[in-house]
Amino acid sequence: MLKIDNLHASVEDKSILKGINLEVKAGEVHAIMGPNGSGKSTLASVIAGKEEYEVTKGNIEFNGEDIDELAAEERAHKGVFLSFQYPVEIPGVSVTNFMKTAINETRKAQGLEDMPAKDMLKLIREKSELLEIDRKFLSRSLNEGFSGGEKKRNEIFQMAMLEPKLAILDETDSGLDIDALRIVANGVNKLKSNDNAVVVITHYQRLLDYIVPDFVHVLYNGKIVKSGTKELAHELEEKGYDWIKEEVNA
């Protein structure tokens, strides 16, 4: 599904990704871990198509198609979803209207008619129940005045509404208490199928107890320096990242 080949990316001439190779197949869950500043969030943003980042070398293939040159919305229309580490507050735009616009614009791009209002309401009801979101919450301005946990839950609600093929969850566990973490993880697991894939970016192993990865990769200094299975995550939790750094630097 996702094939990243020797990806180099920089922002304002500062090189951040220095040759990433990663392949994610349908039905898989990958975790990307690594110390602060290793390039995890940059990788997520580059896949989603943030324009400030310049791909200087290598490429990103999604379902057999090069997507490096595509705008963020075009990638979204093809099924790429990024759950933000810091969801942006948008005063004046309600959660419901935002979702309606996002879904109908995606449908338009796919040559479909707008979703009938009745179906939209049903979908909203269904997915908000999945994420245990209060209906009143949906008429509020997007992310404005939301707590950290509410913001993250709202991200996964949007993911549930859009049903992406590839979901990248950037530090979705940060700012969540244990109950919210369980709701979010439960949501992600329910959406998981053999046709889609999830990339979980996290600093800690905690979330991986709930969303169990098939593969774990360690990103350090712009490169994937180690890959393994979920046991690697436990090892990192126990020993920290220093031993990885030493291994790499040696």
């Binding site: 943030k50 942006v88 209207n97 616009t101 614009e105």
Partner: protein, 437 residues
């Protein structure tokens, strides 16, 4: 012959043609003298520092369109709020169009200025109100000198007018350039309520200059909601002079939606002559190309315990320029005044300009006055966030801009009107999305 000379010489002909009583005749004669003396305002005057009329005044305007021009309703239906029942006072090239209008004398007067200025039964009202709110500046005086047509609305005591009233001035462009000077008078008596929508619309690309004066009198506890839709062609310019006198406990709101035209200048003046008055001034400006919109507001707090609320949002693209000049005067007697003013702007182009200037003159010591102006750009992180969810760049921009102006839109009390404005905004921003926030 320049426009000033042309107007001065036309005045003599005009004044002899019309049969009027002495009061109006005297007012007009005094007014033309003021205009003759002051002339058109120039950038040397502080209030016109950022708006030059030079280019607009160069056209060879016909000041009295002679021809009677007919328009079919179906061709201009879109300029009305047509999905609700309303009274309509419609003018074509300055002349009243009876077949497009729906006026009334049933309990209220929704009719013509030309009748009010000439028929004896209106004389007392005219003598009490006509030209009693307008200031003696040159442009208002020019309008006063030539005033003979426009809307005349009188709402008697305790009358709630259920249907909104639409005042629409069309210009057909049958002359190569046209100058129009409509004059509206609105008197809302004690405890009455009325909603009015005003629009100026050019139907061709020929230059039009409208110098309009509207006087609104809100007597004790009257409520007036006034909406101005300014979305004219790129060769149409508008100088809108609106004067509002409020008596105690009245509430008057004016919403100005400035989306187009070549040059638009809004002189909006509120005079509070009583206690516990509320004055509401709101505006949304969305312009591009080389358009110019200037909001020049004045709220004069004269008596104690009154409020004023100003909220103007502006979005400026391409080579457009905007001006906001908001003056608040709080007299020494006007203790416990609560005056609020906000002017927020977004520049979406490097070549767009906004000049914003709050002016507060406060002579009372126990008042709450706040003002704030901001100039910013669209939030890039919000743009990426929206686009990553599948909303294309243009639509994401439009959604952010709409959200930005939503504070003003949400206070529009006529739902069909709000829908219309929303559609105009979507059109203006070139998107086809619902915005049903």
């Amino acid at each position: 012959m320049d426009l000033k000379e042309k107007l001065l010489s036309s005045f003599l002909v005009f004044e002899n043609q019309i049969d009027i009583d002495t009061y109006v005749h005297d007012v007009r004669n005094d007014a033309i003298k003021i205009f003759e003396e002051k002339g058109f305002p120039t950038k040397k005057e502080e209030a016109w520092k950022y708006t030059s009329l030079n280019k607009v005044l160069k056209e060879d305007y016909s000041v009295f369109p002679q021809q009677e021009n007919a328009i079919e309703y179906k061709d201009i239906k879109k300029y009305f709020i047509h999905d609700i029942d309303t009274y309509k006072i419609v003018f074509i090239d300055g002349k009243y169009s009876s077949h497009l209008s729906q006026t009334t004398h049933d309990g209220i007067d929704v009719c013509l200025m030309s009748s009010a200025l000439t028929k004896p039964k209106y004389r007392i009202l005219i003598e009490n109100y006509f030209n009693k709110a307008a200031t003696k500046d040159s442009l208002s005086s020019l309008n006063t000198a030539f005033s003979n047509e426009g809307a005349y609305i009188h709402i008697p005591k305790n009358k709630m007018v259920e249907k909104p009233i639409q005042i629409v001035h069309f210009s057909t462009g049958n002359e190569s350039a046209t100058m129009l000077q409509p004059r509206n008078l609105i008197v809302a008596d004690e405890n009455s309520y009325v909603q009015i929508i005003e629009r100026h619309q050019s139907l061709s690309d020929n230059p039009v200059l409208t110098n309009s004066v509207t006087e609104i009198f809100a007597n004790k506890r009257a409520i007036v909601d006034y909406y101005k839709i300014q979305n004219d062609n790129s060769n149409a310019s508008l100088i809108d002079n609106t004067f509002i006198k409020q008596k105690k406990e009245s509430v008057v709101s004016v919403h100005t939606f400035a989306f187009g035209g070549k040059l638009t200048r809004n002189n909006l003046n509120f005079f509070q002559e009583g206690e516990r008055i509320d004055s509401i001034l709101k505006g949304v400006t969305i312009i591009g190309e080389k358009q110019h919109v200037d909001h020049n507001t004045l709220v004069h707090h004269i008596e104690p315990n009154c409020e004023s609320h100003q909220d103007y949002k502006g979005i400026f693209g391409e080579n457009s320029t905007g001006v906001f000049n908001g003056k608040i005067i709080v007299e020494k007697e006007a203790q416990k005044t609560n005056a609020f003013q906000a002017n927020n702007n977004i520049l979406v182009s490097d070549k767009a300009t906004i000049n914003t200037k709050p002016q507060l003159e406060i002579f009372a010591d126990d008042v709450k006055c706040s003002h704030g102006c901001t100039i910013g750009q669209l939030d890039e992180s919000a743009m990426f966030y929206m686009r990553s969810r599948g909303i294309p760049e243009k639509e994401a921009k439009a959604l952010l801009m709409y959200a930005f102006s939503n504070n003003v839109l949400s206070s529009v009390k006529i739902p069909e009107m709000k829908q219309r404005i929303t559609k105009i905004i979507a059109n203006k921003l070139g998107v086809d999305i619902g915005f049903d926030l």
